[in-house]
Symmetry: C2
Subunit: 417 residues, 2 copies
């Protein structure tokens, strides 16, 4: 039954996607604005539904962090509406022929940007993902099949009804925004294998969810999120910059994937740099875990074990290691990093260029905090996640990353010899 | 044992890939030319190894078609060498910053084209894939981990030794071109899950192999190859063009994925068009299988069953169906097509544009044979396969499609507020 239900949703989504492919930018942007309006007009209804989820959450003993993620407020609804209006104001990411060329036989071949089709989003407790994901998919001309966490069931259901209805009144085909309205876990597994209707799956949530999707999906997946990010303080670093950047990368928002988890420091500057860093980190409540050698400089540091180098703490803990040179820093990053965001702090031109060239990550920074890896900070207007794989999209995925292309061939009777 | 061996190859490939990322175009192109030379200089050795495979193949009762695919000759080696030299002459597909912008906080963000990393290729009997795939991967700066069919074991082994050695003498890191030298089937399954070292898997071969890889891989896959391609003869078609194109799309090389498998004909022109088409197809030895209505016009046609519409025949058989209008043609294509290559024959501007806009396929043709979907015909110089999925790459995949990007962020001490 679950399977049949979801296949029906998939079929409707595919039909809608084919309709969406022919809809112009103005209609899509109008729809996004109407969706934003509807969220504000119907806020009472949404908050009512959210209250049920919150009460259930408390009954089921959800942690305070999870409850906070689940909670909707007037202010949070306004943020969601702002997000949709921002999307509406962005240029269309589909319909452009970015390249056209002529072959010796006279065939003209153009490559045009088109929507991917139907995007399945599997996510956890935050109900704002329902609105963000639906908005991004619509902006890029895709149908969205959403599967939120069971904790947010009533919130997601009400949000989807409201925005899907608003989109339809603006001329978007029914089926373009759909929620899988069941809390049965089987639903996820059905989606993982629904190659007939889903063109891509994007999991958003903890490492457990993402691994489950990657390991079991036959539908192509864009892997998102896990970030074990490093900052390397080179021997030629401006140590004042290094200090500010390191503190920012660790403490500005420690629970996100682009926060720094390990600091690498060049041996030549470590004695000068580390004491002040330790003090600043202490002021910010950060626990430091260092290699043997760093503990000779800051004895009160805890010892970093092998597993610390591989940890995405997502809290106020920082691993610290001394390296002998740029090469060793890069090797450490390649051994333990997750190809997300990596930074070097240096005034040395050649070291900066080497680091950017060799380090294999979605975003490679010189003299800036890794915290900028984000759709808004990159100027994409929004993001559906941060890809840590190399196929299709890397780093923050905005509307452009939710598109593909097709080739249009203009002939005049050509046949192959 | 097999697992350990392949993981070691993967580790070496990843090291080589990191070296390759820093190597300039000139070195790569020199290596490609040396590989081409080596193939010709050592042709005796290669043909010797191929002889063993051919003898084993005959002993094991391989079909004549398979034996023909397996066979190497001086001429075929020259074709492979030509392919490598063609690649050497192409512009480099990596290293270009295709976009750079500045954020209000002064951060400059550039998007640079980079190699994907390590590409696993799993393929069947044709030994030329060994050379083509290795060349394409090298041109785009990727390490290749090749797993050829057991029938071609000795040919693949000798080819790989020769080209890998030639590449190394030109300055390419060891490990950049490696063959999985075991015929055990377990080898494929190890590769499917080797996310630690493989960035992407590309299967090349029959539908069985491709489905096995898609269904079981956790490494991201680019699906290639299956093509159930249509040609739609519109009511406004130039019937002379339609005839030539249809015959070409079916008979020029029926065993490939971009050959036409179903012909759709508009009701208004079918009586005029079909008799001549049937005659031309008969002259070319093509069996026609038509819908009920077409058989009223050409009674000697066999009846097409439901499964015919979904068949990729790969031989001289053509399904034929009458449709009432453009919309019905598109619906048929969406119901049975594989998103590969689709064509409309029409002189009507609006119908041509509609078809190109709505049909969801990698390549959408107006007034040309679907047989042009091919890396060489598109001007890409070569191809590693034809993608039928929408993520990352669509249609013929040349060196450019074997690249990804990363963001370089140039800061001056920026931290996030």
């Amino acid at each position: 039954m679950v399977r049949e239900h979801i296949y029906k949703l998939g079929e409707d989504a595919q039909k809608a996607a084919r309709g969406l492919a022919g809809i112009n930018s103005k209609t899509k942007d109008e729809a996004l604005k109407k969706m934003a309006q509807a969220l504000l007009q119907k806020s009472a209804e949404i908050l009512e539904a959210n209250k049920i989820d919150m009460e259930n959450g408390k009954k089921n003993g959800l942690s305070q962090t999870k409850l906070d993620r689940l909670l909707l407020t007037e202010e949070r609804l306004e943020d969601m509406a702002d997000g949709l209006n921002t999307l509406a104001a962005l240029p269309d990411s589909v319909g452009e022929i970015d390249n056209m060329w002529k072959r010796p036989n006279g065939l003209e071949i153009g490559r045009i940007n088109v929507p991917i089709g139907v995007i399945g989003i599997i996510y956890e407790a935050r109900p704002n993902v329902t609105v963000d994901a639906a908005g991004l998919c619509l902006k890029s001309g895709n149908a969205a099949l959403l599967r939120g966490g069971s904790e947010a069931f009533y919130s997601n259901q009400t949000l989807t009804w409201i925005i899907a209805h608003a989109a339809e009144t603006a001329g978007i085909p029914a089926g373009a925004i759909q929620l899988v309205e069941t809390t049965e876990r089987e639903a996820v597994d059905v989606m993982l294998g629904m190659n007939k209707y889903l063109d891509v799956l994007i999991p958003r949530g903890g490492a457990g969810l993402i691994q489950h999707v990657v390991n079991n999906a036959t539908v192509p997946v864009i892997e998102t999120g896990v970030g074990n990010c490093h900052t390397y303080v080179d021997k030629d670093a401006d140590l004042e910059k290094a200090l500010n950047i390191a503190v920012n990368a660790k403490v500005q928002r420690p629970g996100v994937c682009n926060a720094m988890e390990t600091l690498l420091v060049h041996r030549e500057v470590v004695e000068q740099f580390l004491p002040e860093l330790a003090q600043r980190m202490k002021q910010n409540g950060v626990e430091l875990r260092g290699c043997d050698e760093t503990r000779k400089i800051i004895p009160e540091m805890n010892l970093a074990e092998e597993e610390d180098w591989a940890s995405e703490y997502l809290e106020l803990i920082l691993a610290v290691k001394i390296v002998d040179n740029l090469q060793e820093a890069i090797e450490h990053i390649h051994a333990y990093g997750t190809k997300h965001s990596e930074a070097i702090i240096t005034e040395n031109y050649t070291s900066a260029r080497q680091f950017q060239k060799i380090v294999d990550a979605a975003v490679v920074y010189v003299n800036a905090s890794t915290r900028f890896t984000d759709g808004f900070e990159f100027g994409f207007g929004a993001e559906i996640g941060i890809s840590t794989q190399k196929l299709h999209a890397r780093g923050p995925m905005g509307p452009e990353q939710l598109t593909t292309y097709k080739y249009l061939v203009f002939g005049n009777g050509q046949v192959r010899e």
